[in-house]
Symmetry: C2
DNA sequence: GATTTGTACAACCATTTGGTTGCACGTTAG
DNA sequence: CTAACGTGCAACCAAATGGTTGTACAAATC
């Protein structure tokens, strides 16, 4: 088992996380495995697509680190790794912080009085 | 100007939002236009790719509703639409809520006493 | 041991993505 | 008016996505 050490999420890592979340089927799989750890074929039974298609979706979630697999006999149960979701939230939080900062700057400028617009 | 009415984000809408966020260039464009509204060619000057490539990235962000464009003379300035970021956050919050709910359920089960643990 | 079950993987296909170049058009500047 | 600038769009191309079917293999069951 590989322990996650990297504290700094690389851009490719964030790419993979958002990419994995950009599909309704994968988001649904994530919901199901958050609620209860379950096997790939159990997951596949819930959708109208073929089992290999579901396998691929799980693989995408796994490459993003959003889920992990644990072998139980011949089954391989998929479980959620919610720490990676926190990474995605961190990115969105950074955007929101930037936004608030811009609002504050605009407030400060307006408080000083509009002297001259930089106008590029 | 089209006022955003839809309170219920469709799956395709969420797809587009996360898809738009799944690229480092687009996240960087988003940062820049949050900090300051600016034209497409000004954005293009910041990257080593061609201007049409940047135009396409902006178009992806625009289809996701994360940015908007306002015409100022012959320039078309790109500005952020941070309300859509809140949509993405809402999805992540829902995942986290599910996760907390599962933790609570497990706590409740453990509080009752481990009657028959499924062996993990 | 033979059969079924859960999983993995390869090959294939259609569509989308992310990039390029080139052209057209409206707006501003000289 | 003419030239330059900012933008949009179409055509094209390589690579990735999202799906399929088929094959192979290990574990559980009979």
């Amino acid at each position: 088992m590989v322990v996650q050490i990297d504290a700094e999420p690389s851009q490719e890592e964030i790419d993979r996380i958002f990419q994995a979340l950009a599909d309704a089927t994968r988001r649904d799989i994530l919901v199901r495995v958050i609620e209860r750890e379950q096997s790939v074929s159990a997951l596949a039974g819930a959708y109208r697509m073929s089992l290999p298609a579901v396998q691929k979706h799980v693989a995408v979630l796994e490459r993003a680190g959003l889920v992990g697999k644990t072998r139980h006999g011949r089954e391989q149960r998929v479980h959620a790794e919610p720490e990676r979701l926190a990474r995605a939230r961190g990115v969105l939080d950074a955007f929101e912080a930037l936004w608030r900062h811009r609002i504050d700057s605009m407030d400060a400028l307006l408080a000083e009085g509009p002297t001259k617009e930089p106008k590029e």
